[in-house]
């Protein structure tokens, strides 16, 4: 990891207050969509946030995109703190952080021409000459493998894969430092996914941009990312370099996810860990370890009462599970000694 990460997120929380009426009594509750998340994204690297729906990965993305305001915690891009940005600094941030969303059908304005969509981050943030903009549009369109001559067309004239390329071109046009990829291939046809993923990887080097990849498909995470963080109920439960995580998943939830993943071949045999029940409601998250009600490896009362900390295990592999408490304690002790 580079010494100065592109993005540093620390203790990020986003709680939504909800009021409900239960038997004529007003009950105020809090949805802890994101509950204390910290991570770095290194320069030119890809961090994948993996988890099932409702785990908080999309909310995290929204917070970084400044589409929503965190309850607490900091988000830093380089030296800039994202909170309370104004004027020039705000525009600068908007240029530096871009996004590609999941659905190529709804993420491109059907009423705008491709060139307008691609150049929007440029047009709205800085005065640039028309010629500069046209040149830049052509450049990024070419980079994503589209014919710059098609810049006058409308999105509906393109297929899903092509649209996702347009979205990427638009994200790249302002030469950002970080692009958030929110499930960028999950709604594409199978035969298109590989070309799109390859494109993302190729352009990362070419444009020296960092990716924060929001994804539910573990195989995609493995193919695309340098580092993986697994989220469950608003918290990161495991975080490691991709190869470390895939070679030896530690957290029971991560293990369960691996077990549930579909095999690449009929002969692949998987450990049978089938989780019972569904993800609990974030309105009323379980006490202690949020995973304990479904955890097949629960070790005892401690899981129900104490929230496990995210601690480093064997060097750079962080996990938040009481199973690894001893080891972590030992490591801390040896470090102190």
């Amino acid at each position: 990891m580079a010494s100065q990460p592109t993005l540093r997120v620390e203790g990020l929380k986003r709680h939504f207050p909800v009021t409900m009426w239960r038997r004529l009594k007003r009950v105020a509750a809090v949805v802890k969509a994101v509950d204390g998340v910290s991570f770095d994204v290194g320069e030119g690297e890809t961090l994948a946030l993996v988890g099932e729906s409702g785990c908080g990965k999309t909310t995290t993305a929204k917070l970084i995109l400044a589409l929503d305001t965190p309850t607490s915690g900091t988000i830093r891009l380089g030296d800039t703190d994202v909170q309370n940005l104004h004027g020039e600094a705000y525009r600068h941030y908007r240029e530096q952080v871009q996004a590609v969303f999941q659905d190529p059908w709804s993420s491109l304005n059907p009423r705008m021409r491709v060139k307008e969509i691609v150049s929007e981050p440029l047009v709205v943030n800085r005065r640039r000459s028309r010629r500069d903009i046209r040149a830049r549009v052509a450049e990024v369109l070419e980079a994503v493998g589209l014919n710059p001559a098609h810049a006058d067309r409308f999105p509906h004239e393109f297929s899903g894969g092509q649209r996702q390329r347009i979205a990427l071109a638009s994200a790249l046009s302002s030469d950002p430092k970080l692009i958030i990829l929110d499930e960028p291939v999950s709604s594409l046809d199978v035969s298109i996914r590989a070309q799109t993923m390859n494109l993302f990887r190729d352009l990362q080097g070419q444009f020296n941009v960092s990716y924060l990849l929001i994804v539910h498909d573990l195989a995609v995470a493995r193919y695309m990312s340098d580092e993986v963080a697994v989220m469950y109920l608003g918290k990161i439960v495991e975080h490691a370099r991709t190869e470390d995580l895939f070679s030896e998943p530690l957290h029971p939830y991560t293990k369960a996810l691996f077990a549930a993943a579909l095999p690449g071949h009929p002969d692949v045999e998987r450990e049978e860990i089938v989780l019972e029940g569904e993800v609990p409601s974030p309105i009323d998250p379980p006490s202690g370890c949020p995973f304990h009600p479904r955890c097949p490896m629960k070790i005892g009362e401690i899981c129900e009462t104490t929230v496990p900390a995210l601690r480093t295990h064997q060097g750079r592999h962080a996990v938040s599970c009481h199973l690894y408490d001893d080891e972590a304690a030992a490591a801390t002790a040896s470090a102190e000694a």
């Binding site: 099932e52 729906s53 297929s159 894969g161 092509q162 046809d189 199978v190 035969s191 298109i192 996914r193 590989a194 070309q195 993923m197 390859n198 539910h216 573990l218 195989a219 995609v220 493995r222 193919y223 190869e243 895939f246 369960a256 996810l257 691996f258 077990a259 549930a260 993943a261 579909l262 095999p263 690449g264 071949h265 009929p266 002969d267 692949v268 089938v274 989780l275 019972e276 569904e278 993800v279």
Partner: protein, 332 residues
């Protein structure tokens, strides 16, 4: 042979073009067997499945040819009235999206009742209720007595899909067609659901046609698999035979373009181009424009079906390249 489909053709007649959505498809299904039909969106797999029940999208869609013999009877020649006695009772279907496939304004119980009442006229009122609760229990829904009165929006996605499953098996059909039943489910829920289907199949011996775009599901669930591309089945065979010796370039490309969980892939195979647009008039091999092996003949003439690939009698594929025996994969 439970079901034998021969040269099924369903075209969509729109003002602008005639879309050959299903363009001469043949396959079969045995008792207790799971057949996977793999294809991308637009390949015609869903329309093909609906055609079997004469439910092709009207008014544009029309079955223009072929036959579908269900226990020897041609389903395509039956009247809509006769089809009603088959739908749900002999052949049922699980649709893709549990969020939308349950009617939001009726309770779960109501919608299951209907399945029973239309299926088995003989059941008395109390009998229906008991049957509803039983079938909910069968699909692992906790506390089924209470769930009967719930509306769909009160259930989670996974539960809804189980209810859809319950409706499908309520009349103990011979065939269940599952059209991408897990795409909108989370990973762990998907695993639960697939396990459920497998168990139900084991206990009832129902034949399952699994429609999917995901080779992973095929690998996990199916005995045989048929690969569809642009309205045609381009390759077909036992699941291991296909995985070990994919013979059609499209099958090969698909398998190679999917990232693996088990191993690190340096670079995925990337299939060039886009799937053909509907209504695009195609001669020759449908995959030719994207195929790295294609030559002039591929673009002019549709290839014949080559059988007995990888020394397996059931393994077939449509590709000119297989004329050359060296290209035919052999069983290890």
């Amino acid at each position: 042979m439970l079901l034998e489909v021969k040269d099924l053709r369903t075209y969509l007649f729109t003002k602008r073009a005639t879309v050959k959505a299903v363009d001469g498809v043949s396959f079969y299904l045995r008792r207790g067997e799971t057949l996977g039909i793999v294809g991308e969106s637009g390949s015609g797999k869903s329309i093909m499945a609906l055609s079997l029940l004469q439910m092709e999208p009207k008014p544009a869609g029309r079955i223009v040819g072929g036959e579908a013999l269900f226990r020897g009877d041609d389903l395509l020649r039956k009247s809509q009235g006769e089809m009603r006695t088959i739908r749900g009772r002999r052949i049922s279907m699980i649709l893709q999206d549990p969020q939308t496939s349950l009617n939001p304004v009726f309770t779960i119980g109501n919608q299951l009742n209907e399945a029973f009442v239309t299926g088995k006229q003989g059941l008395a009122r109390g009998g229906v209720r008991k049957a509803v609760v039983d079938v909910l229990r069968k699909v692992n829904i906790a506390d089924p007595e209470r769930r009967v009165t719930a509306f769909p929006h009160q259930l989670s996605g996974g539960m809804k899909q189980r209810v859809v499953g319950a409706i499908a098996i309520s009349c103990s059909p011979d065939i269940v067609i599952a059209d991408e039943p897990t795409t909108s489910l989370d990973l762990t829920i998907q695993a639960q659901y697939l396990r459920l289907i497998k168990r139900l199949q084991d206990t009832t011996g129902v034949g399952v046609i699994f429609i999917t775009h995901d080779f992973g599901i095929v690998a996990k669930m199916c005995d045989r698999v048929a690969v569809m591309y642009a309205g045609k089945i381009v390759e077909h065979g036992p699941v291991r035979s296909i995985f070990n010796h994919p013979s059609h370039p499209y099958t090969q490309a698909l398998i190679n373009s999917v990232p693996k969980l088990e191993e690190r892939t340096e670079r995925l195979y990337s299939i060039p181009g886009q799937p053909p647009a509907p209504g695009q008039e195609l001669v020759g091999c449908r995959f030719a424009p994207r195929c790295e092996f294609a030559d002039e003949r591929c673009r002019q003439e549709y290839p014949p079906q080559f059988e007995g690939l990888s020394r397996h009698s059931e393994h077939t594929a449509d590709c000119w390249r297989l004329e050359d025996p060296t290209w035919r994969p052999s069983r290890h």
